[in-house]
Symmetry: C2
Subunit: 249 residues, 2 copies
């Protein structure tokens, strides 16, 4: 797998956090494999999450009524997006694999990472209707959502109060990545690291390193409603490991 | 309904947009009813979406390893959150109804609004395990998600490529609002306003004004997995109007 390019989009404020360790392990393991790894450390970069007029350099396409989607699309075509967005687009363009590493905030990614999606994946670059979903402009790339949760695995089981963890993956994996044509690998989820032992946290890191060793052999999930909502029911006592993929913790 | 308090959290860059008009209509109609209406115009406020150390005034609870959730919780208890967060919490505390008005970005809310959720709804203020879901700290309040989409109603029908629109409501309505104890009214969705006639857009505004006239008589939805994933299947040709509530466009 030498020569493959990986972009890790990372959103945690604290390098000593489990997210920080998971990111570091990915850099080390993938580099060891000969991959070229780039990290966008969003908090360290003070990445701007707000989609505003500032993203458009020069004159607007329609200065009477500001439409962000249209303006970003037009600016992309003439090379007039702000530099920070262009930099991220270059990284995405070069990458074979995108890894998103973050703590789950409110059943989703932190705002700073959502802003990365909002501002970087503009029309013309990542999609251009009808070039979306399997025809999306970022096809031939892979994505993997790797995140930690506050709630336990039991809270995110089907029939539990927070619902199956797969429900909340739909907007991120299907609505964003699949929409852009990116194929999605099984998510990597560390449940409630704040409430487990130091030993268990170490096991979580080891499991991630182990998974990365054979990551390039994995098949993408079938990113359709069935995967998210219609697979066989299970109870809180059934381990997610068997459901989210054998390498998944 | 005179005397009721409403907070509109609004995220659009352009006052002349349909979102801007929907917000204005809500202010006018609810004010006419005698409600007290407050608007948090996030872009105009340049609201900060990033959850960082800057949100904590003074010393950290644990300066060795920054944990945003813990620090925000501790800061809340001692009145040490940053002023912009405290201001928003006051507005939420006083409100009987929260209306979120935004354009759908990537199957979710824009990052600037996600940041409002991330930073304002901190532990101790909005939830405090096990005080969550029906026991959440914001119970006795109502919320309503009012948004515009890029895709058409047909694209968001069950069985269509983008999946049922209800799928993407799960993280926002259940994962955020219900988690905090807030009861959720049926969403108000304007599909693809950019691709319909000026007349149809006017009808959308009229429908919203009409719905607002009887809003206080509405019953909240049953915010459980059944509402989102298990209700009767329908095809793209079935109107969403009948499914999302008779007042919903």
């Amino acid at each position: 797998m030498a020569g493959r390019k990986v972009l890790i989009v990372y959103a945690h404020q604290e390098p000593k956090s489990l997210n920080g360790s998971l990111k570091r392990i990915a850099v080390e393991e993938l580099s060891e494999q000969g991959c070229s790894v780039t990290v966008s450390d969003l908090y360290a970069m003070q990445f701007e999450p707000r989609a505003t007029r500032n993203d458009i350099v020069g004159c607007l396409h329609n200065s009477e009524e500001f439409n962000y989607g249209v303006e970003a699309w037009e600016a992309y075509k003439r090379g007039g997006l702000s530099n920070d967005v262009i930099e991220e687009q270059k990284k995405v363009q070069e990458a074979d694999l995108l890894i998103f590493q973050f703590p789950l905030y409110w059943f989703s990614m932190p705002a700073i990472m959502k802003g990365w999606m909002d501002r970087v994946l503009v029309q013309g670059f990542a999609h251009d209707f009808p070039r979306c979903y399997d025809s999306g402009l970022l096809k031939n790339k892979l994505a993997l959502f790797s995140f930690t949760t506050g709630g336990s695995e039991e809270m995110y089981a089907k029939g539990s109060i927070s619902g199956d963890i797969r429900y909340l993956l739909w907007p991120m994996q299907h609505g964003i990545m699949h929409f852009c044509g990116v194929k999605v690998l099984a998510p990597h989820i560390c449940f409630a690291p704040e409430y487990v032992s130091e030993e268990r946290r170490k096991e979580m890191l080891i499991a991630w390193a182990q998974r990365l060793k054979t990551l390039w052999k994995e098949e993408p999930i079938n990113c359709s409603p069935e995967w998210y909502f219609n697979y066989r029911p299970r109870t809180a006592s059934t381990s997610l490991n068997t459901v989210l993929g054998s390498n998944c913790i």
